[in-house]
């Protein structure tokens, strides 16, 4: 048993109370500890990545109770990938946040660590009630982070965010209850074994539970019509928080991939590919609505938020195709869109903070500091987000389009993916040319010295680092896709996962 697995959860879980205890009144210490924890987290994730690349899925039985009775954590290629992504993102965005955002309210770093804990837990757990618990952890931490710094609009949006998610949590419990009531288990691997053998008469309950669960994950993944929470939340959340939230939507996507391939996939008998007929059409609508939102956005925050919805649509198309090839493509797009969305929120913040009066509104304003570098950042991101060559967004879309060939909906997928790219391009071109080219008001004066928390070098550098990561992800697309295709292949062999959890070798090693 890989003893390190649990530390992906424990490290932030212990660091957070330490931050509360020791560094509550000392922001410098809090920053040092928090960054150190995130760095350690990233190192750990790298270790997992290496380990998962060469080994079959690994299981960690908490409390030494065998599955399906105790809770297990499972590290396979997919979860290792997600952990690495979350580790890298949380570290980079945290560096941005310590440029000043973290000091605008209390307990930022503790909440940050808890948020990371929840995310990592959701990626590792092999038990779907435990998944509920980690969902709640990441959600409640996100509530705190979302309203960090306060303000009328932010708190108002925060209330809506919380209420929608509480409804989601309610549904989660109902779905878990329904599945447990007929399958009699909470362990995902065990469920995968039980689903095919379930009595025919119980299938209505099982399927209903499973698809309600899809809606729960759909809420997280901003799947239309469950996406309503996202625009207000992302557009109003503090920038580093919105950037970190980029991985939260992926928790929803990850859960869909995990559960509906493992337990409701090819071997699920009468419940095989249960999610497919629902997910794909919804994903297409999500894509359209998201990219239309990019075109219709009135502020940078909205632009970024809707681009997240659009990208989730694209990602879920790949997921909804439920094929190995499409999943490989989708995973590439997942990594890309997470990094791109995060950077976009940071750039939006850097710009808004410098446009003192106009903020993030998409209208002409006076010249502002650093507009040269920021326009370059914005341009690169626009390319990435819209899926224009040469960046990873293009490659991701190309991979997805390529993988959609065998789908019955291929014409829809191709025309909508490409058509919405145009909406995105036009939207970003309008936004960028208005923000960076149009000048209105006092233009020649240098902007007055301002107390923006995103001033200084660190935010610029950390944003640049994410962009650099995107570029590297493009350059090394070859090896990346090979790795991701292998990952998809592993996901599509549930036997490996099940053996790891329930196999003879797994119990009480």
């Amino acid at each position: 048993m890989n003893q390190w697995i649990v530390f992906a959860i424990l490290l932030p879980a212990v660091m957070a109370p330490v931050l509360v205890l020791a560094a509550r009144h000392d922001i410098v210490l809090a920053r040092v500890l928090s960054v150190a924890a995130c760095a350690a987290q990233l190192a750990l994730a790298l270790g997992f990545f290496v380990s998962a690349s060469s080994e079959p899925p690994q299981m960690y039985a908490l409390g030494d109770w065998p599955a399906p009775f105790g809770i297990v954590l499972v590290l396979d290629r997919l979860s290792a990938l997600m952990l690495l992504l979350s580790g890298a993102l949380s570290l980079l965005v945290l560096l941005y946040a310590i440029g000043g955002w973290d000091a605008r309210g209390r307990h930022f770093h503790a909440l940050w660590q808890f948020q990371v804990m929840g995310i990592n837990g959701a990626f590792l757990t092999g038990d779907f009630f435990n998944l509920f618990v980690f969902f709640e952890i990441l959600l409640i931490a996100s509530y705190g982070l979302m309203v960090h710094g306060g303000g009328r609009d932010r708190v108002g949006a925060g209330v809506q965010y919380v209420v929608v998610n509480l409804l989601g949590s309610t549904l989660f419990l109902i779905a878990v209850g329904l599945i447990y009531s007929v399958a009699g288990t909470l362990n995902m691997a065990d469920l995968a074994l039980k689903v095919p053998e379930l009595a025919q008469g119980d299938r209505a309950i099982l399927n209903t539970g499973a698809l309600l669960l899809l809606m729960v994950f759909g809420v997280k993944a901003a799947l239309v019509p469950l996406h309503f929470w996202l625009p207000g939340t992302y557009a109003n959340a503090p920038a580093p928080v919105a950037a970190l939230f980029a991985i939260m939507t992926k928790v929803g996507a990850y859960s869909i991939i995990r559960l509906y391939v493992l337990a409701f996939g090819a071997e699920a008998g009468a419940s095989a590919w249960l999610a497919a007929p629902w997910l794909l059409p919804a994903a297409l609508v999500t894509l359209v609505l998201g990219m239309a939102g990019v075109l219709g956005a009135r502020s940078l925050g909205q632009l970024a938020a809707f681009s997240v919805i659009g990208s989730m649509g694209t990602l879920l198309i790949a997921v909804g195709l439920f094929s190995e090839q499409a999943l490989g493509a989708g995973l590439y797009y997942l990594v890309h869109s997470t990094l791109a969305a995060a950077a976009l929120f940071l750039v939006a913040d850097l710009v808004s903070a410098r446009r003192i009066v106009h903020g993030g509104q998409l209208d002409a304003g006076p010249a502002f500091a650093d507009s040269g570098l920021l326009s370059a950042y914005f341009f690169v991101l626009a390319i990435a987000v819209c899926g224009m060559p040469p960046l990873s967004g293009f490659i991701g879309k190309l991979l997805i389009l390529d993988s959609a060939r065998s789908s019955a909906l291929v014409a829809w997928i191709w025309s909508l993916v490409l058509g919405t790219s145009l909406l995105c391009i036009v939207g970003f071109a309008r936004a960028g040319s208005t923000l960076f080219w149009r000048r209105h008001g006092v233009g020649d004066l240098p902007p007055p010295e301002q107390d923006v928390s995103s001033s200084g070098v660190l935010p610029m550098v950390s944003t640049g680092a994410i962009l650099f990561a995107l570029v590297m992800f493009t350059v090394f697309a070859g090896p990346a896709t090979v790795w991701l295709d292998d990952t998809a292949a592993q996901v599509f062999q549930p036997g490996q996962y099940i053996d790891a959890v329930l196999g003879a070798g797994g119990i009480n090693e």
């Binding site: 009630f129 618990v133 709640e136 409640i140 509530y143 705190g144 309203v147 306060g150 303000g151 009328r152 609009d153 708190v155 108002g156 949006a157 925060g158 209330v159 809506q160 919380v162 209420v163 509480l166 409804l167 949590s169 309610t170 419990l173 109902i174 878990v176 209850g177 329904l178 447990y180 009531s181 909470l186 625009p231 207000g232 557009a235 109003n236 009135r298 502020s299 925050g301 909205q302 903020g359 993030g360 509104q361 209208d363």
Partner: protein, 128 residues
């Protein structure tokens, strides 16, 4: 008994959803509270119903109910307690920030747009 419980769950859900769809944060919080009752009882009912067979091991007991749903419900109760607390305080903060406890914001205008009207700070007058 099963029918009573099922219909009770239905009643709680109905009242909860109705309140959830009201326009004020307070009603919404009440609705969520009812929904969480409904959910907890629902989850509990997934262990099927037995009376006087608590899952406490003893030599006298002849039968035990399924303990797992109970443990899950306990966790769910605690979590929804925490959530309720947060949403109540957040709703309060929101009310104090905007002087309105209407759950609907200004739509996307919340993103700090020119269109969003900033209401003058008003002071609610006491009834004394």
């Amino acid at each position: 008994m099963e029918f009573l419980l099922a219909s009770a769950i239905g009643g709680l859900t109905t009242a909860g959803v109705y309140l959830l769809l009201r326009a004020r944060t307070f009603s919404v919080v009440l609705g969520l509270a009812l929904l969480s009752y409904a959910t907890n009882v629902f989850l509990f009912a997934m262990g099927r119903l037995v009376t006087n067979a608590p899952p406490v091991i003893s030599t006298l007991a002849t039968d035990y109910t399924d303990p797992l749903p109970q443990a899950l419900v306990l966790t769910a109760i605690v979590i929804s307690f925490g959530m309720t607390a947060v949403v109540v305080v957040m709703a309060l903060r929101s009310y104090l920030e905007s002087d309105s406890d209407h759950i609907d914001g200004n739509g996307l205008a919340q993103a700090g747009e020119p269109g969003s009207v900033v209401l003058p700070v008003e002071v609610s007058e006491g009834g004394r």
